[in-house]
């Protein structure tokens, strides 16, 4: 018996080992590195030097940063809400249509997923800028007199975030809605419910898991999508992601950047734990 058990353990070990090694090298090592970095200090040139200190974490609480955290949460919240508002009806229609074009609609969501979002965000920049298409067309139509420049505002950042993260909302929504048994909707109508009542009492509760997972999948990356707020917000809508990026790229304060990253990771863990607690399906997150 003991022998067999050892054999099984060995078999299990050989199966798990490559994955574990992969995780260790590419996930655990960098994480440990960042964690260590976040407790480092700096020499006079700004290079990180090891001297155990918690001052980076203390610096996280500076008033300017708090404002940025708040803005990040607001932007991510607004983005999530907009994604639900637009994504739900959209996912509902493609999931429940009997049309032959179902797969076409689905592909319309998926295809942008495969192209680089940085490129697409730059595309929007040229569309919305003062000398861009939108302005020119509106002026050409005589609807406005002077060029309008919508760039570098918070709403513009939210727009860009919604645009980039929309598929992450639609896909879990789509799978939740498609799983919904159509006969439940008919049963509800049969028992006297109007469409709105059926929606509130049957459809929404049974697809809320999709809203949950979609929200997690939008909210968390939104905090870190610094290039969107960079390109479309132009420094007027800085978020945690921008803050981190700046520590590494221009301010040359890696330990502080590392501390910020650790904070973002902790926020993520807390949110995902909360999601799990509420009965969320981890598979729906694709992690």
């Amino acid at each position: 018996m003991g022998k067999r058990l050892r054999g099984e353990t060995l078999a299990a070990f050989t199966m798990v080992a490559p994955a574990a090694l992969w995780l260790f090298v590419f996930v655990a090592v960098p994480l440990i590195y960042v964690l260590g970095l976040s407790f480092c200090g700096q020499d006079e040139f700004g290079n990180a030097v090891f001297e155990f200190t918690t001052k980076n974490y203390a610096n996280l609480l500076n008033a300017d940063y708090l404002q940025i955290y708040l803005r990040s949460v607001l932007i991510a919240g607004a983005t999530t809400a907009l994604c639900v508002a637009v994504g739900y009806p959209f996912a509902y229609i493609i999931a429940r249509t009997s049309s032959r074009h179902k797969s076409v609609f689905y592909m319309l969501v998926i295809i942008p997923f495969w192209t680089n979002s940085l490129v697409r965000v730059y595309g929007w920049k040229t569309f919305f800028s003062g000398t861009g298409w939108l302005s020119s067309v509106l002026m050409g139509l005589g609807l406005i007199d002077a060029p309008i420049d919508l760039l570098y505002t918070t709403p513009m950042t939210v727009f860009g975030m919604v645009y980039c993260l929309f598929p992450y909302m639609v896909l879990p929504l789509y799978s939740a809605i498609e799983k919904l048994d159509g006969s439940l909707i008919e049963a509800s109508a049969d028992l006297g419910a109007r469409r709105s009542e059926t929606f509130l009492r049957v459809i929404l509760p049974l697809t809320s898991s999709g809203i949950f997972s979609g929200s997690i999948m939008v909210f968390i990356p939104c905090l870190g999508y610094f290039f969107v707020s960079d390109i479309l917000g132009g420094g007027n809508a800085d978020m945690i992601g921008n803050l981190i990026e700046r520590q590494f790229q221009s301010a040359n304060n890696w330990p502080l950047g590392a501390a910020l990253s650790i904070m973002l990771i902790l926020i993520t863990i807390v949110l995902v734990r909360a999601y799990q607690r509420m009965g969320g399906d981890m598979d729906a997150l694709g992690v």
Binding site: L184, A187, A189, D190, G192, R194, L206
Partner: protein
Amino acid sequence: MNEKIIVDVSHVDKYYGDNHVVSDMNLKVREGEFLTLLGSSGCGKTTTLRMIAGFEDPTSGEICIEGNPVAGKAPFERNVNTVFQSYALFPHMTIFDNVAYGLRIAKVPKADIATRVSDILELVQLEGFERRYPAQLSGGQKQRVAIARALVMHPTVLLLDEPLGALDLKLRKQMQLELKRLQRKLGITFVYVTHDQEEAMTMSDRIAVMHDGVLDQLGTPEEIYERPQTKFVATFIGETNIFEGCVNEVDTTKRISVGLENGNVTVAPQEGFRFGEFVTISVRPEKLRVSLEPREGFSLYGVVRDYIYVGSVIKCNVVLPNSNEVRFERLAGDELPKPGEVVFPYWEPDDCVLIHNRDNELYTALESIRLV
């Protein structure tokens, strides 16, 4: 029998694209009866039921419920309720909430809801299950909840689409009796869909046999069994021997003689059959006889092939010269010809059913050139 018509389906056709799923359906459901739509898979039973419930619109024709046309009325505006084949219980609600669903929508006072739900759960023998969720019930229990959820609305008609289809044989038999008991007790009209002829025979007051979207025959189980009006009905309900042939002598006072491929046979005289007409004869195995001598009016013969013992009944196959087989049944203990022996099948002229054979290819061909 109460003759008030509660559901009146008249001249209803239904197309899905080019697919003619229901054609010229006429069906009058009487108040308080248990009517079964019976037919093989894909013949349009569910579609018919869904048109009554309001989930599909007829392409043409009219449906009246309690005398009022229901065209354009949504399911929630019709006083009919449906029991779905898949039960369609709301998985996120307890049994109590499932059954109370329709009452809450109808804004029935809370206290009434509680009593009505517990009464109906008692009726379907599910007291004490209120707090459970559908996933915690067995198939038969889910089925009862689905029935309770529909019945609690006091529908004038209850529509049931193969409600017992997913249950095992034993449970199905038990639920058949229970459903019948419920229907008797409540006096609610049931329109019941099944493809199981035995189920239809045990439960129904009347059976509507459908075939390829056409209502072939509507009648009591006895009428359907004893006097099928089409070949499909004869073969679909119970076991039977089918003979196809041509009327070669009509004596309306004495007999009709029919020529088959293997010889002549005699059936009882009846109106409406003409000389030269193509006909189908159906003879139940228990009505088919065999003799060791040729019988007057019959010139069929064959060879006994084998016997099958099914409990107290012996089934015997006889091979005719064209290698068709006929089957007859005897009780165990009866004297029987031996396998390999030549026998002469016959029947009492009253013991068979004569059916017009309008879908005979030759007949159709002749008709198209107006020879008949």
